[in-house]
């Protein structure tokens, strides 16, 4: 035993990761070998495939749920980093700049920090509810995330009632917040939980009603269908037909996502982070993640419902037709290239590097040849990367869709962060008054006006 312990102590940190991994891989290999030889594994595989074929829906759902869970983590990281950096710039600070290039890994470091922290349960707390509350909040956000379409075909579950599902599941976050506030055995948390219940339920109504106009115009509740109804040019986007609906949706969404100026549930200067006061470690991390994934979802749904989702402001083929230019077809079939593909892959970079290095070497005669070649290599990579991205954009509507969708979404993320940096918080009576006196009548009027317009136009 002591030999093992001593050898373990001699290992570097990287070795401590690699050695157990090697062991696991060896063990798995042995199991696989034995399984294949005895014919057990193929039998199990056949059964799994058959069961899967019979239940495609369930398999697809499981895959989509896993993908949404996995994707939510990097999205939360990106949003946290963006928020830190943008808040810093608006406040004339530098922001995170230590971990990773430009501090981009700062939020990953934050993730490890919450993992390593003590998971503390206060005396007198209701342990079961205290533990389950962050999970409820996080899961409801991830479930809502599943119906968000990124690009044509890139969606967790393409539901025909996606809009309804989104609001129904998104409203479940309040259960987690209220439970967490109640179970913490802290008066501030209780106040925060009750505030979140009052706020989120009040704003749920105008939020849902503001979308009814969009649903009427598109004639479908599927987010896919709503995006397709706005395809073409940017004046087809519903924001121009539903400006009031967009305003109500955006404001109510801000309150729904607990963002400034409606962040009363976690008002740190009043009720000390509200429902999250007593949370620490990864339980707090779940609340934190849920909030930032929710921020992304809100921005994404705003982009989908009112700004055409993944559709470009002007279709490139349409633009080309106006200008009288033909967009060249970029469909490259690698199998047709044969030996040419090999040459392209092998000689292309070398040739490109030399080509890019020649002007550098001519311009900077004081540089050594090797340095010019290095700069040429970087230049070639930039140029080639740009070309590949441009080709992908033109050839694949998924890439083009992702480009526009993420661009619009992160624009709204920026707007949310901008609001947080600029505005103070409203008071609870002003908040409730705003929802019931302004947003609700406005959204009802919007439904009425839209319905009347549709009837008049169709007559």
């Amino acid at each position: 035993m002591s030999v093992v312990a001593r050898s373990w102590g001699h290992l570097t940190p990287a070795g401590k990761v690699v050695v157990p991994l090697l062991g696991i891989v060896l063990a798995l290999g042995l199991v696989a070998f034995l399984g294949i030889v005895t014919g057990i594994l193929p039998a199990i595989g056949d059964t799994v495939v058959l069961t899967g074929r019979r239940n495609v829906g369930i398999v697809r759902f499981l895959v989509a749920a896993t993908a949404a869970l996995l994707a939510s983590v990097p999205i939360a990281f990106i949003n946290i980093y963006l928020e830190m950096k943008l808040l810093a710039w608006i406040a004339l600070r530098r922001g995170p700049n230590r971990v990773g290039p430009f501090g981009t890994l700062q939020s990953v470091a934050h993730g490890f920090k919450v993992l390593a922290k003590e998971d503390f349960t206060p005396t007198g707390a209701d342990r079961a509810v205290f533990t389950i509350a962050p999970v409820v909040t996080f899961l409801s956000v991830v479930l809502a995330f599943m119906v968000v379409p990124f690009a044509p075909g890139i969606v967790g579950v393409d539901m025909n009632i996606a809009v309804l599902f989104f609001f129904a599941i998104g409203g479940l976050t309040v259960v987690g917040l209220l439970a967490g506030g109640w179970a913490s055995f802290n008066k501030y948390s209780l106040l925060g939980g009750l505030r979140s219940a009052a706020q989120i339920i009040s704003y749920e109504i105008p939020l849902t009603l503001s979308v009814v106009g969009v649903v009427m115009l598109a004639g479908t509740m599927s987010l896919h269908g709503i995006v397709e109804a706005q395809a073409g040019h940017f004046w087809n986007w519903f924001v121009f037909q539903q400006p009031l609906g967009f305003l109500v949706f955006f404001l109510a969404g801000t309150a729904e996502g607990n963002r400034t100026p409606f962040d009363l549930t976690e008002a740190d200067s009043e009720i000390v982070a509200g429902f999250a006061t007593e949370y620490s470690g990864m339980r707090y991390g779940f609340f934190y993640f849920a909030e930032y994934v929710n921020l992304f979802i809100l921005s994404a749904v705003t982009a989908i419902l009112f700004f055409g989702g993944w559709s470009a402001p002007v279709e490139i083929h349409q633009l080309a037709a106006w200008l009288g230019v033909a967009v060249p077809s970029f469909a490259i079939d690698p199998s047709q290239l044969g030996i040419g593909l090999l040459f392209l892959l092998a000689l292309g970079p070398a040739l490109g590097t030399v080509l890019c290095a020649i002007p550098v070497a001519l311009l900077r005669t004081d540089w050594s040849l090797r340095r010019a070649l290095a700069v040429g290599f970087v230049l070639f990579n930039v140029v080639a990367g740009g070309l590949v991205i441009a080709w992908a954009y033109l050839a694949s509507e998924v890439v083009a869709g992702l480009f526009w969708f993420l661009g619009k979404t992160f624009f709204f993320v920026f707007v949310f962060v901008w609001m947080r940096a600029t505005l103070p918080r409203v008071r609870i009576d002003q908040l409730m008054g705003f929802a019931w006196k302004w947003l609700l009548p406005a959204s009802l009027f919007n439904i009425f006006a839209t319905a009347a317009a549709i009837v008049l136009v169709n007559r």
């Binding site: 004339l92 008066k187 106040l191 009043e270 947080r420 505005l423 409203v426 002003q430």
Partner: protein
């Protein structure tokens, strides 16, 4: 070995978790007021605001009696930052006593030194060189601008606004760096001396000051646009925490809190000291008496301070910046009182000499403490969120309240 613990021992309370976080003290009520305060009606709840709370500006503890979101009653509990500064100063000689006063109102330390120094000068009966007087006023007014800039940020932070505090700190940092060039310290300057100041104006200070003055008015005005017409900010502060003239006078409020009710009482004009009679400036007042008025009033005061600094630089006489003072001061037995206008109101020092080299009694009158007592009138009936806005608009510094 078992140890018997008495019932008053706080460790006894740890046995039952339900009472740990209770705001109700474990002893029977000591006064009628206490009995009334801790008797809860149906639906009422006690919440400890502080001593560790992000927006109590230090370690103030306020027991709030709330009904839902509404504050029914409150009970401030002081003393968490008591350091016995007055007593410490009584055990030091007159020169040493000055440096104890620095950490009282720690965002405006020069004012803390000025009042005791003036009181001691009255005891010793010495004439201060005019150049020293001008330098004192110059540096104090600079610090007043820094303090008011920080107040703006704090008020916004307590209302949930995030950026103004950082802009306020930029403003303050430039001034503090300037004063560091003059005094050698950034926060607790220890610059005033009995009979003058600790160092003459130097080149670095003057060049920094000149460079800053050339853009100060513009930058301060730009910072103020962050909040002045912000709809949410105005709606949250206008008509909030209104105090009328009579109540303000009855509670002995001073400084911006009093002037916001329309009383033009400023020690600099009411009981002029130092070289203020020779300087030209206005006493801004407002009539509304609410949080927004207190905020706007401070912005006006910053403009007046800039005027004063300009005049100080123009009229700065030549000469020594320190009178001839013995190493050890033994004033004749007697008493002296000196009051100045600090950024928060009347800051005064009362000193009694018994003929030895140490003050027999050294007493500080602090405006934060006096102004803070008005929360009992202002807060009840408002919401929890407004408690912060009202307290922040009074701008108490707990270092000064608890001494």
């Amino acid at each position: 070995m078992t140890r018997t613990v008495s019932r008053d021992d706080p460790r006894v309370l740890l046995e039952s978790p339900a009472t740990i976080y209770d705001a109700i003290p474990p002893y029977p009520p000591r006064s009628e007021r206490e009995a009334e305060f801790y008797a809860l009606r149906d639906g009422e709840m006690l919440v400890n605001l502080g001593p560790q709370h992000p927006s109590t500006h230090g370690v103030l503890r306020v027991v709030l009696k709330i009904d839902g979101e509404q504050v029914v009653d409150l009970d401030p509990v002081l003393g968490y930052l008591h350091r016995g500064i007055e007593k410490l100063a009584e055990n030091a000689d007159y020169h040493q006593a000055i440096c104890y006063t620095d950490p009282l109102e720690y965002v405006s330390s020069l004012f803390n030194e000025l009042a005791p120094v003036m009181a001691f000068e009255k005891l010793v009966e010495i004439e201060v060189p005019r150049r020293a007087e001008y330098i004192r006023i110059l540096s104090c007014e600079l610090l007043r601008i820094a303090s008011h800039g920080l107040f703006t940020g704090w008020l916004a932070l307590d209302l949930g606004g995030y950026a103004p505090i950082l802009y306020g700190f930029i403003e303050r940092d430039e001034i503090v760096e300037m004063l560091a060039a003059l005094t050698g310290q950034r926060m607790l300057f220890n610059y005033m001396r009995i009979g003058g100041v600790n160092g003459d104006l130097n080149h670095e200070f003057m060049s920094r000051l000149g460079e800053w003055m050339s853009r100060a008015a513009r930058e301060i005005a730009a910072n103020q646009t962050l909040l002045n017409e912000n709809e949410i900010f105005v709606r949250r502060t206008r008509g909030l925490g209104v105090i009328d003239r009579e109540t303000a006078l009855r509670l002995c409020l001073t400084g911006p809190a009093l002037r916001a009710t329309g009383v033009p009482y400023d020690i600099r004009r009411a009981h002029p000291y130092s070289v203020y009679p020779e300087l030209e400036f206005d006493i801004p007042t407002r009539d509304e008496g609410d949080s927004y008025a207190r905020y706007l009033l401070r912005l006006d005061e910053v403009k007046q301070s800039l005027r004063i600094i300009d005049q100080c630089l123009e009229q700065m006489p030549d000469g020594p910046c320190m009178a001839k003072i013995p190493r050890l001061i033994r004033p004749r037995p007697g008493r002296a009182f000196a009051a100045i206008e600090s950024p928060r109101g009347q800051y005064a020092c009362y000193a009694i000499s018994d003929g030895t080299d140490q003050p027999f009694r050294f007493r500080i009158h602090d405006p934060s403490f006096v102004n803070l007592q008005s929360v009992g009138v202002l807060v009840p009936g408002n919401l929890i969120a407004d408690t912060m806005a009202i307290m922040a608009s009074l701008d108490p510094i707990m270092g000064g309240v608890d001494k």
